[in-house]
Subunit: 173 residues, 6 copies
Amino acid sequence: MKAKSCRKSKTTMTQLVLPNDTNVLGNLFGGILMQWMDIVGAICASKHAESQTVTASVDNISFDNPINLGDVVTLEAQVSRAWNTSMEVYIEVYTSNIKGKAKVKSNHAYFTFVAIDLESKRPVKVPALTPKTSEEIKRYESANRRKEIRLILGKRLKPKDAKEIIDYFGEFQ
Amino acid sequence: MKAKSCRKSKTTMTQLVLPNDTNVLGNLFGGILMQWMDIVGAICASKHAESQTVTASVDNISFDNPINLGDVVTLEAQVSRAWNTSMEVYIEVYTSNIKGKAKVKSNHAYFTFVAIDLESKRPVKVPALTPKTSEEIKRYESANRRKEIRLILGKRLKPKDAKEIIDYFGEFQ
Amino acid sequence: MKAKSCRKSKTTMTQLVLPNDTNVLGNLFGGILMQWMDIVGAICASKHAESQTVTASVDNISFDNPINLGDVVTLEAQVSRAWNTSMEVYIEVYTSNIKGKAKVKSNHAYFTFVAIDLESKRPVKVPALTPKTSEEIKRYESANRRKEIRLILGKRLKPKDAKEIIDYFGEFQ
Amino acid sequence: MKAKSCRKSKTTMTQLVLPNDTNVLGNLFGGILMQWMDIVGAICASKHAESQTVTASVDNISFDNPINLGDVVTLEAQVSRAWNTSMEVYIEVYTSNIKGKAKVKSNHAYFTFVAIDLESKRPVKVPALTPKTSEEIKRYESANRRKEIRLILGKRLKPKDAKEIIDYFGEFQ
Amino acid sequence: MKAKSCRKSKTTMTQLVLPNDTNVLGNLFGGILMQWMDIVGAICASKHAESQTVTASVDNISFDNPINLGDVVTLEAQVSRAWNTSMEVYIEVYTSNIKGKAKVKSNHAYFTFVAIDLESKRPVKVPALTPKTSEEIKRYESANRRKEIRLILGKRLKPKDAKEIIDYFGEFQ
Amino acid sequence: MKAKSCRKSKTTMTQLVLPNDTNVLGNLFGGILMQWMDIVGAICASKHAESQTVTASVDNISFDNPINLGDVVTLEAQVSRAWNTSMEVYIEVYTSNIKGKAKVKSNHAYFTFVAIDLESKRPVKVPALTPKTSEEIKRYESANRRKEIRLILGKRLKPKDAKEIIDYFGEFQ
């Protein structure tokens, strides 16, 4: 399998916040935004893997500013690292209101997807990722640290074995 | 404002996985589960706060086992810590298929909500939380560590100032 | 098949009234509430039967007080009687608004479900029900009278053969 | 206010059963059918009343035959009686599959709606109903008996005061 | 296969504009109206063909007047011409608000559907159409001109070969 | 108001065909695709106009190849001409299945939107469009011919006054 660039599977989704998507305060409902992130991330990972994918995990997402009814939400997803059968996807969310104001970044998140064969319903191998820009390389390199956090939180790694994180925080001690 | 127990705002939601909720593989779509978690968490936080709430952040969620069409999903939410205007809610997801098998835990996650006044749309103070069982106390105490992680990830705290985490990982060095 | 208690299959669903669920007056749309009742009832019946179920009938439901946007709706379902392949489920609906007011009962209804085998798509036998509290016993005993009403309304029983109802109303004559 | 005929507000709705509307067995989900009934009934009542309406109650509905994915569902609603501010609407549901088979009646139900003024959110008077065909007259006359049943079930009428029903069943004793 | 009249497959759908169906201005969202048109048209074509159908094309639709929240929308579909395996369906959309005003025509459109066999997923022959009223005959005869426009726009017919249209517009030159 | 380029408001939407979006044959439902086109077109027009917009008309759309469950649909919208208060938007739809095949164009359509002021609900002026590439110029120039067709079809222009079209087809006579 040939390694692929980040750009090859980059995916953009645009959504308009309709009454259907709002909470009691008239803003975009957090659960709807997460659903959009999940879809755009899955499409991006599926393009890289050339197979169906399922969501394996979602990293911390923070919702800092309310997104209003009528706002345009742009979601950009790109693979930040590929391992054996799983991929980490970096998703950025931009919001702009219609009245000419510049779009502003409102969120970002890392989702992890596993490539699945539709027949056997078993994980399948995915191509490696070749990061190119300095941003892409930075996200590629920090991916293992995020993976350790996921494993600790999923109780599949003991904190004392989280080598990357121990090094990272240990040096501040 | 009088402090409240965890039990006072505990909230249970039950859902049946309908065709409408499935992905291409015929399993529960990750984005739908996150939406259910967001709603049950918001209801729980709103009960504690006695006001409307908005989602401020979602911590790492992992999706280990596929949930199938026709499965029953039970979501249980309880406040794990309350700060000034925000609350951390702990959500557990249990799944059972109909054919008599015991329900199994399939996920858990921490969501953070901010109490909002419906008129002014500004944050409002929330009651303190009084944890009682040993489980509740453990989650209450580890909440500050999770909050530091959120602040680091949201770039509002420098890793070198994350006192709780440095202590925690530093001692493994 | 071993008889089961009511408590064993009791099911709680919590919903938040979102803009998506409202009618032109800004209140919870009756059709949405009926859909929630149907789902929570089906889950409850399926737990008792340990098989898939389909809705066979819905008894009279009255909607006395409007339920508002932003209200929290709690639905509690429990089997009130089991016959050969069908079960009657009693569903209570409670509503509370966020601003600290006590939750109030807003509706109740009886739904009937038939247990269905997923392969053959034919009805299957369900366990008997053992009512315990005086409330449960009362609902268990009045179930046959409600069943007669359903049969009369479905034109499968002639009013003159509705023994339980004739006795009940006859004595007022 | 001038009395109106049944025909004046008769309303027909046609729906196609899409994957979105099905339960785990691949049939039309009971809750979706009830939602369609509620909408077609509300439109019919609103036409008669010339005002918005809210659902006040639903009488017994039985679901005898499964309705399949791809079937066409036709719902016909007509006012069967009007009182002061409320109306009873009779709804018939017909189903046909595409492959040329004749449509068959699969359900019927009585829904009650109250006319509401959009400004004051208070009930408003509705025109009287003039039944014409023998079917319409029969349903008009039996409406008071159904109303008594609703009042008894809603605990707003004591069984011993249900004059129409006592007469009806009493004579079989 | 016996030819059929237009009336035989005429289909009426009634919808109530709910908050769920509105755009940012509080009016019926164009995309929702198109979806309703597509469903009512598909049902109508399927009745004529006695088989499943898929949408082949949609002709020009104009949305002249906004349709408001709470309005009642009536869609009437009838086959205007049948060819070998495809049918043209004429759809009229009427709108009325509740407050007693007469319903007004708000749109019309021509949709084309192809009959499909559910097993082979291949097109199947459909019955001929026998137009009867002068309106039906007029629509039947102009159908070939509309078909040529579709073929030109779909780049499957060169403008210079569009005989009907050349004759029609040529004579104004 | 300063004229704008096409590129300035170009909008990309990506969607994954979920079970929720399919028809009885398991393919993307035509009505859902039209809804996606309407949203992406409205976002694009709103960006150009810097105001809210409503759909004024949709030109002929043809659906040549079925789009399957699990396919990725990419919609690209760009303004093709701006008049006084209205804009024509050109939308291209590309489809790719996951398994590595190249994406193929499956549809295109022209939608027309009118810019609306949110307060007064009246049309507002929009910036002119400056086409740049030869493709953009070609679509810009043919826009008036399409506008004439719309006006004829909407019965607001007599065929004999459709100057552009008469010239175009007349010369083939």
